[in-house]
């Protein structure tokens, strides 16, 4: 199936979880960074990554800390 991660199309195996998607999309170094995730614009807690399954055309946002005013 195809989903979108930060606007990029990514192909995943059927019934992939958020954890699977992150493992495929982020490098090992990036996975060690601080980030948070939203699925279809709803927050997904870190503790739910492994149990949250994705479906076709889902959109995943992976956000990192950045400077702000």
């Amino acid at each position: 199936m195809n989903i979108f991660i930060n606007g990029e199309q990514v192909s995943l195996l059927e019934q992939a979880s958020v954890a699977d998607a992150l493992q495929q999309y982020l490098t090992e170094q990036q996975q060690a960074l601080t980030f948070a995730v939203a699925l279809n614009r709803d927050f997904v807690a870190n503790s739910d990554y492994a149990t949250t399954c994705l479906t076709e055309h889902d959109t995943l946002d992976v956000l990192f800390p950045i400077q702000g005013g």
């Binding site: 948070a36 990192f64 950045i66």
Partner: protein
């Protein structure tokens, strides 16, 4: 007088942003020079290959550790209550704080907050246990509604974000202060000069939040010190009590026993 945000005592009434500095190193020096204990930051998508954000995040963590400070994540860029609520929840997980500088923008041209979406987001976030610091316009009724929803801290703008225009409507800001005496009021956005910050503090505002005026100065570190002094000066002046403004001149020098030649005209 002590200053606190949602019960957390703070030594400085200046809250500072972490964006727009010429370099991460200057950002760090300027924030440290400001004496601020509260640093705002945000969450964004990041090109996975660009690690600049990670460096900024590391520096901010170092600053907070040195200053025994606190992170204040914002919801910059959000245009609906739903977006802001989602981003707030993401921020709470990452930054381990229930403080959120709530921004819901209704107009791209002047980045004016959307009052209706702001109230909706505030209600949802407070119900979810957040301590909301809403960025809003200088509208008394909106501030009152935010206070009634449970916001202990309210942050009306001085003028649109990044303009440096200072206090556009002092009357509105003074009215909010007078009518919400128990709210913690922090003037946020649009401050251009240390004298703007000082003026807000002289009005009785509890604090000032700014970013561009320091970050875009020729010398951000020196400007951070200037703002620190201005905020402290304004606060001291407010506590000392400003003299009442008068419509006519009053001599400063005592007139009793004035030498005779000063009376020459008066005796005619």
């Amino acid at each position: 007088m002590s200053f606190s945000i949602y019960g957390q005592a703070l030594s400085s009434r200046l809250l500072i942003g972490s964006a727009l500095y010429p370099s991460p190193e200057i950002m760090k020096k300027a924030i440290l020079a400001s004496d601020s204990q509260v640093v705002t930051l945000s969450l964004k998508r990041q090109n996975p290959n660009a690690m600049g954000g990670e460096q900024i995040w590391r520096y901010i963590q170092e600053i907070v550790k040195v200053k025994q400070g606190f992170l204040l994540p914002n919801t910059a860029g959000c245009k609906s209550a739903k977006e802001a609520v989602t981003l707030a929840k993401m921020s709470r997980e990452i930054f381990a704080t229930d403080w959120i500088k709530l921004e819901v923008i209704g107009d791209d041209y002047n980045l004016q907050p959307d009052a209706i979406e702001l109230l909706a987001a505030t209600e949802q976030l407070i119900a979810d246990g957040f301590k909301v610091l809403p960025y809003c316009t200088d509208d008394l009724v909106l501030c009152q509604r935010l206070y009634d929803l449970g916001c202990q801290v309210i942050m009306p703008w001085a003028s649109p974000i990044g303009t440096g225009k200072g206090l556009m409507n002092p009357y509105n800001l003074e009215t909010i202060r007078l009518r919400l005496p128990n709210a913690t009021l922090i003037l946020d956005a649009g401050i251009g000069k240390p004298s703007d910050a000082c003026l807000a503090m002289e009005m009785g505002y509890d604090g000032v939040l700014l970013n561009s005026a320091i970050a875009l100065a020729d010398n951000p570190v020196a400007m951070a010190q200037a703002f620190s002094l201005a905020v402290a000066s304004g606060e001291t002046a407010y506590v000392a009590g400003l003299m009442p403004e008068r419509q006519t001149a009053h001599p400063s020098t005592p007139t009793l026993d004035t030498p005779f030649w000063h009376h020459h005209g008066a005796t005619k």
